[in-house]
Structures are given as structure tokens and as C-alpha cells.
Symmetry: C2
Subunit: 545 residues, 2 copies
Amino acid sequence: MDCRTCHSVNAMKLLGRLLVLQVISTFPFTSTLAQSAVEQWGRFEVTLPHSFSGNSFKAVDLSATFVGHDTSYVVSGFYDGNDTFKIRFMPQQSGRWNYTTASNVSELNEKTGSFECVKATGKNHGMVRVSETYHFRYDDGTQYYPFGTTAYAWTHMNHAVQETTLKALTSSGFNKVRMSVFPHGSVEPELFPFPAREVKRDSSGKENHAWDFERFNPAFFKQLEKRIDDLGKIGIEADLILFHPYDEKRWGFDVLPPEVNNRYVRYVTARLSAFRNIWWSMANEFDYVRTRSREEWDLLSKTVVETDPYGHLCSIHGSTAHYYEYWKPEFTHASIQDEAPVMDFGHATLLRNAYAKPVIYDEVCYEGDLDRRWGRLSGEEMSYFVWMGVLGGTYVTHGESYKPSNDEATLFIRDGGKFRGKSWQRIAFLRKLLEEGPGPLEIADVGRDHRTAIAGKGYYLVYFGKKMKDSWLFNLPVKSGRFAGAKPGTRFKVEIIDTWEMTIETCPVTFEVSRPNDYRLHDKNFNKVRLPLKPYQALRITEIP
Amino acid sequence: MDCRTCHSVNAMKLLGRLLVLQVISTFPFTSTLAQSAVEQWGRFEVTLPHSFSGNSFKAVDLSATFVGHDTSYVVSGFYDGNDTFKIRFMPQQSGRWNYTTASNVSELNEKTGSFECVKATGKNHGMVRVSETYHFRYDDGTQYYPFGTTAYAWTHMNHAVQETTLKALTSSGFNKVRMSVFPHGSVEPELFPFPAREVKRDSSGKENHAWDFERFNPAFFKQLEKRIDDLGKIGIEADLILFHPYDEKRWGFDVLPPEVNNRYVRYVTARLSAFRNIWWSMANEFDYVRTRSREEWDLLSKTVVETDPYGHLCSIHGSTAHYYEYWKPEFTHASIQDEAPVMDFGHATLLRNAYAKPVIYDEVCYEGDLDRRWGRLSGEEMSYFVWMGVLGGTYVTHGESYKPSNDEATLFIRDGGKFRGKSWQRIAFLRKLLEEGPGPLEIADVGRDHRTAIAGKGYYLVYFGKKMKDSWLFNLPVKSGRFAGAKPGTRFKVEIIDTWEMTIETCPVTFEVSRPNDYRLHDKNFNKVRLPLKPYQALRITEIP
């Protein structure tokens, strides 16, 4: 289904109709109500009050066609409880948009209206999309390097923890967070995505819910949406996990029948597609959801992509070394759990070459002190893993799993809370480095040298990882990825980056490359760079114009 | 097109017809003529003499339907020159087969006959097919571990070199050879796949051919077929490269128009599909054939797969780190050029996980002494690369590129000839090791330990690569791939394998594993294995029943 196809809607006719709609919250990340102008990539919301006698979640079909000056979108609406139906729309271009609704309920059918879409301002860069095969940019062309963290159930925690998490994220360098719609079995949420028909307590006092899977709980989704908007305000993408296997037989959300899963993803996309900072993560550890076939995953993924009118980023994530068929057109990128690709030089790039899509290693174990080996990386190792991925032209997601030390403490990967580790700051430092550079990295000489990445003509990052050296003979590969190589006589400035101490020192020597010598370019005087004989050193080597 | 679908052919009716066909060469790898019984996976050949007034290569359509007791195949015929048309068939099951021809030329149409297919004998195991997702078996269930070498243009050399090559291959451990149909620009062949309309010599004496691309040269293909049968007799699969970019502007076979390429692959599959030891390699370094689009490669690959009735293995090979879309259904396996996946532990498996198909690293640089870095691996490094691939559950192809030292010497990767390197013997040794084991290897604990592979319950290979150790604390991963792990109390025998010296010594100590300790199983007395402090050592660790 291509929702972007132009429809033959007579805009003049639409404009002539009476607008009987309440327009609220048209501008995300602000509290402005009843606004008639919306920013590009902002959110326009149509509210339709109607008292329907049956199950409004299931029996009412509602959509609207939004017509801009040379394009149109068909957008699904949803029932928001309290006799209120809503349709949300994210305009992809500025100018006048007219809409008309369609419904199987006559009172919701053929409602029309319009609004003015104005240019984006401030930090509104639009949605994040795939760019240059392996990387990402915002709609407005701004480069986006994903530096994500993990807080699966943070929106299911109490209000105080949620606020703490937001505060921690605000002062971090992260711009993506992996988080689940469904709660985790080990956390007791206040709100659930489905309403309970009945709640019983067993002899141990444990609650047993009898869920009404024919309906949704709008209060749950409103709270989730508030948090997604909160993330948007601080420049963070919500990598929203639609399914996961961590129910622990508590609520049964991991074993819903296919028709409920189908209604659920349609309800989610109807509510959330108009949020510009949403990514769809079909699952965390999909292969641990034992009851679901690949066919159902495929179908659910297709449903999400077809019901999302804007083409948000979409992937699916498996357990260690269990990759999905990421070449399928539903998936914009590979979201992989595997530590092997970032353990040593030269691994990360291989999967990028295989998929010809961006690769995000969304789980490579976590910094922490758990007994389980997936949760006990040192801060150094977590930072090293992120560097290894980025150097290879891929991306790596952070996670922190220090044991909660007291009743107030949290396990960050699950609950959010405060950061207690050391890698999050180093990752922010790396993000800054990358954003200062001319573009994303790629290995310069992919057959031989997996320590030297290039980000543009005359711009190299060399990373030594755990190897400690007191000096480095200046040399660059002749091969230079998709960029032009350095010509003899080109002069270079070298900065020594301590990726752990987060310092950058300029090397006092200027280097000048001689003619190629067995695939390498050395300094004409074979000058060396003095290094501090410490691990985790890197070099930024830039051409002097 | 599924050629294996049953057709409603009345076998009785066919049998009643007069057989006016000359049946020759029905049994490959023997010189028996006019045989009426053919082995399963052998070759039955129908010869139809007919003098056709037009271009027999282009204007005559010929096929036959072969009907066995519960299946049928539609097989294309071909013009073999000298007023002779042929149809070749490889029976996939024993028993009676009846056939009837179809042609747009009445004299070739509705010819019928039959033959008896008997059980395979001796070294005839059938075709090699994909098995257990990542590996290969012959049709009869015998495991096949690909240990290939490379001699692109060996069939274009003079007779003496061809015979030398066969002799070298016979005494090697190789069971696959990568070889091209089209000649290489740097070699002067006697025969060409197309007939020349005219041959001119330029002022320097260089021959310029004006090719007739409307016809083929049967003599060329007969010679190629003889060599493929010669390989079959010594248990070697012909990984036949259909296109390559090494024409060096000499004959233009790399820039043929799409319609000629299409006729060429159809002629090749008509002639060669009935050879059981054929694999289709659509190209070597496909991306260096600058004039051809991915769409044409896709189309040519589909044509090969659709016109081959038996489903021979098929892949396509790119330049370094340029992978094709190997998940496409035409490709049975990934045939990759890249040294990075075998340079260090833990890389090779990643691509296997990505493609969920067998991965053969068909070019990882070559053992030799060329100046170019792709042709100057030491024998040790070449052997190490092969070990690295095999340990990770993938396969690696050998190549040898020592500079021809005198007029009689050859560049093996191109010309064949004699082996002059050292890795070929080590690869034969590894093949023997693998064939002695219970099955193909896989990494036992894919997240952490990339040195320990498992081939079945209680059967491990540990490889130390370049790391020299004087002892090794006996320990195995608790995780053991898809096999059951060792229980406390299990006793193990350890053999120390010097992969370079090709020796196997039994360690005098018997080891008994204790309960799991942080994901590892140690000997209950923490016994060690003494090692010779040399590189390229491995251990074979087998459970004592």
C-alpha cells in the first residue's frame, strides 16, 4: 500500500464544508492547544466526539485523507476512550493541507478541514531516515549518528523514576533509547495496554488480570505518548519495541493470538505514526518468543510498515547471533544482538557488507556488575565495543546493568533511573567527535587495515583499542574507501585522542606524505607520533589545506 | 519453472514407439559407448542426426521429457555440430526412464526411447547439495566438505599443462576447482567458445578475431566437457565460472550483448547440466564487469537456475568485500572474496549467520610471491586462513600464485600446472581431519570463544592459530552449539595436532570435566595439556565412551 499516492480529492469542495472538529495538540513537544498552524514534521490532530453504542475499538473504521499541494496521505484514526475518536497527521511538507474523513459510522464520515503547515524551526529536523546506504540523516539533511541506550521498561516505572530517567538522558549524549510498549514481568506497572475485565488476587496476594483483548486502554497509551514526546524534546528517538519475551507468564502479552497482535500493531501505528521520533522495533529477542512463527513476524512487520504512512525506521532484534532476514523490504536497517562483531578489529564491517543497509548492534552485552556474562562489561569494554562498531561504519547501542544497590536504585537497562557506569560519558565524547567530522566513518582499506577509518577526503580516525604503544610511525593506507586518497606532498595534522580520559592533544609535528610505498603512505621523513603507552588511544588525522 | 513436476505422459505409449536414436556415452567417467543401462546420477545421452538448412544453434528448439516411475524432467537439447543434435539427461532415481522429444523441427520431434537406470556404484555419490543449512552432502548422504583450489584457465592451456594439472590435482586433497569457461586475456587458447568468422593479424602479428556470436564452437565445449569428466573421475567438483572480467580487451567475451549472454548460458546449461560434478559460478569478480547491471546478473542467474533441471549449486563471486545479494533464491551458497573474515578468530561465522546458507570464502588472497598483496601469502598464512574459515563453520578456497620461474612454469591460479607451495598439503591434512570427525564444525560458544568448534556431542577442535603456548588449562565451553554439552564426570581424550607439521600426538593425560564454572568446564584436577610452544597448534578433544 503506497499511502503517498495522490488521490483525486477536490480540495475546493473540501474547503467549502463546515469544520465541526475540535483541533487540539497540533504541535508536539509544546503544550499549545487548538493551534491551526503546524510545523513540518509536527503533529496535527483531529478530534471527533461521538458516542458509539458498540465496541469503538473494534467496530469503528476511521481514516482521513490529507491532501497537500502535490501529494496525499491516507491516515488511520483510532478510538481514544471517552466517546472521542482521533486522527493524527504528520505533514511532510509545508503549505496548506486539506483533509476529509472516511468511516463506517456516518457521524464520523466525510468530516473535512484544513490547516496550514509552516517550516520547521529549532531542533525539529524531521524524521530519521536511511542515508548513504549505511547511515542516517534527518529529513532536513542533518546527519544523525545513532548513539542509543536501553531502558526497556522505563515508562512502566513510577513517576519519580521516569522523571529521573529523563533527567539522566537529558544530560547524556544518547539520541536513541530502546524501550518496550509491553511491561516486563519483573516490573509492576500502574497502567496496562489492555483494560482488565477483572483483577483477582491469589492466596499469595499476587494479582491475576483477566484482560479484555477486544479493547485497548487509552490512558496507558497517553502516558506512553507523553514520554515519547518528552524524549523528542531532548532530541532522543524512541526505538519502540512492539513485542518481547519478558512477560514471565505474568500477563500473557507475549502469547497473544495473531488477531490480537494484528489489532494491537494497527492501534499502535494509528496512534503513534505521527510522532516523528518513533522507530519501530518489531521485537526484542524475537526468537525467544517461542510461540510465534517467522510467518507471523513477517506479517506483523508488513502490517506495521503498511499502516505507517511515513516510513519510520523499522527493524527486528534477535538473541545473540540470531539475525533476522534483514534484507526484507520491511526492514530499514539491521538491529542485531551479538558481541562477536565488536570484539575485535575488522568484524563490524562484515555484516554491513552483507546487508547493504545500516547495521546497529543494538545489544553487545552491557556495562555492569551482574553475575551473568551479558551484564558485566567494564566501562572500558563497553566504550571499546562502541568504538569498534563506529570505526567499522556501523553503530552500537549502550546498556547499563549495575545491580540495584538499594531499594531506590534501578537496573538501568530495564528500569531507567540514573547512570552509574562510566561508558555513557565516553560515548557522548565519541558522538561529539563524530559530529565534528565531515561525515560517517568507513574502513579506508577494507582488505587489510581495520584500525583506520575515513570520513571524507583527508580525514582519518585511527583507533588502537587495547594495544598500548609509545609511538606510531605515521602511515595511512593508499586505499581510502569511497574517497580520493592523499597525494604525495599532502600535509596532515595529528591529534591524539585519549578516548577514556576524553582528552584531545595536538601532536606538535606536521606530517607530509611521500609517494605510496607498498600500499601505505608514510611521512617523507618517517616521522612518528608519540603516544602515551595507555590503552584506548585514537588519532584524528586531518589534511592541512 | 519446476522441471521436477510430474507430467501426464503415457509411458506405455512412449514405450510402444520405435527407438531410432543412437545412444552413446551414457555413463560418464568411463569410456563405455552405446550403453543402455546408466547409473543413478550418471549421464544418458540421446544423439539425433539431422541436416538442418539454417542456423542449428539458433533456429532449432529441442527438448525431451524424461519420465521415471513417479517423476519427470524436461531437459533441453543442443546442437553439437556435424549435423548432430544431442540431449543429455542425469537420472536422479534408478529404474526405467522413458523419454519423448519435442522440437520445432519435425524430424527431431516426438522421438522416443527408454533406458534402465541402475544404482550408483563406487565413487558415484551423486551431486553435491546444501545440507544442514551451512554445509554440503552428496545426493547419497555422504558429507562433502569443500576444499577447493583455483585454476581459472587451466582448460585453455596446452595439452601437457592440462595433464600436469590433472596429475597435481589427483595427488592433492582438493575436491573442487574454480575454473572459467571463457579464456583469460593473458593465455592463448587453441579453442574458443564461439567460431571465428575471420582471423586477421595486425601489424604486430597479434590475432584479431571476428566472432560469430550466432553460433557456438562444439569442439571447444567437447574439450571442456572432457576435462570436467576428468575432474569427476578424481572426485573433484568443477566450480565453473560462466563470466569473468579478465578478457583484457582481447576477445570481448566480457562485453557481450545481453542476448548473446542469454544464448550462451542456455547452451552451457543444455550441454553441462547432466554432469553431476558441475557447480555454477555466475561470475568471478562480477563487479569488475563494468558494463553489466545487477539486473542482468539477476536475469542470467535466474536463467541458469531455470534451465538446469537438477538444481546444481549456484553462486556468484565479487571483488574484495563486494558481496552479492546471496539471500536470493537462485544462490545456494555465498561465494565470497574477502580476506577480512578469515584473518582473525570469530569473523567467519558472522556471514554464515547473516546469510543462513553455506559460506565459501572462494578467494582470501593466494599463497605465492607476487608483488601484489593478494598474491603473496606465506604457506602458513594460507593454511591459517583455511583453518579460520573451517573452524567457524564455513569453507575457504586455496589458490597458489608463485611467479613462473622459467618458461615451463605456470601461475597456478590461472594456468594450473604443478603445486609449488606448502599450504596444499596442510589443507589435505585438514580435510582428512574433518572427514574423520562426526560432522561439520560450528563454534561451540558463539558469543565468547571463537577458538573452540564442535562437530558433534563430545567432539571438539580447539585451534590456537598464531598464538604459541607451552600449556593449555583443559577447559571447554558449557555452550556447545546445537549439541548437548558435556556432563560433569565426562572423560576426554586430547590429541595435539601440529597443523603445519601435520602430526597428531595423543596427550598422555585423561581429562574429566567437573561441574560448570562460570560458563566453562574444567578438568576436575585442573589438569593441563602440554603444548610445544609453536604456532598453528590445534587440539582434538573427544569424549571417552
